[in-house]
Symmetry: C2
């Protein structure tokens, strides 16, 4: 299926829920489907503005919200700083380095057993797309301090 088909599918879903198809939404969806992972609202706004310069940042936020309610995108707070958004279809967890901020993506399957235990013990429904685990990545773990790690 082509990229634009995916965009149109999402727009159809939106319209099916009483939403309206607008050009800012179409452009945002296009950016979401064609781009890299984990982008902040600001980054997405920059991408959208290349195609539609007049789209306001708050419109990006509102549309991301709406798309999240429809289950098309999800956001995650990976450590500090702004939230990052990505497609809900890309189900994976994140290992986030508390030191350098880099994020490793890990297949959702890795979290299956933990999710099952959480469900059995607490009745807690883990959201595999919204999964961030903090720690230190291999590079940063090599030295105690970041400078030493970079020197290797």
């Amino acid at each position: 299926m082509g990229e634009s088909d995916l965009v149109e599918d999402a727009l159809a879903l939106l319209r099916g829920q009483g939403g309206r198809v607008t050009s800012s939404r179409r452009v945002l969806l296009r950016c979401l489907f064609d781009g890299r992972e984990h982008r902040t609202a600001e980054e997405l706004a920059a991408a959208v503005k290349e195609l539609a310069p007049d789209v306001h940042l708050s419109t990006i936020y509102r549309n991301l919200d709406e798309l999240e309610r429809l289950g098309i995108v999800v956001h995650a707070h990976l450590g500090h700083g702004p939230a990052t958004y990505h497609l809900a279809s890309e189900t994976h967890g994140h290992f986030v380095c508390a030191q350098c901020g880099s994020a490793i993506e890990a297949p959702a399957a890795m979290f299956g057993s933990l999710a099952r235990t959480a469900w059995r013990r607490y009745g807690f429904e883990t959201d595999p797309r919204h999964f961030a685990v903090l720690g230190r990545c291999a590079t940063c773990a090599c030295g105690t301090d970041p400078v030493a790690a970079r020197r290797r």
Copy 2:
């Protein structure tokens, strides 16, 4: 060991690193040791102000920072909103409900197997104290479908 012994131990550690023992630090430590829950900087500030009304919020932040560098407390970003702080000795993970914001504490042991896998596959050192998993708690998950629930 009594509570105030723990406070004095922490202060001794602080002084050993060239830090100074001040009343605001003593009071903050007392508040950290006598409460159990995850508390935000604002909540801790409120608790501190009952004993020492003139302690400024920015001092709380600076001291929490300092205590974190010494490994006495850790903070975690549990979903949205402010960061929460707790003692580093209380090693546990968190299941955070994306809907109602409640956090379930889970023993660090539950995360052991995931942590080992992450280490083997990515060389990633999971920090068990800084562990937050998003999803929906039993109450919020009850009788609602995910889309309708998120619409709320």
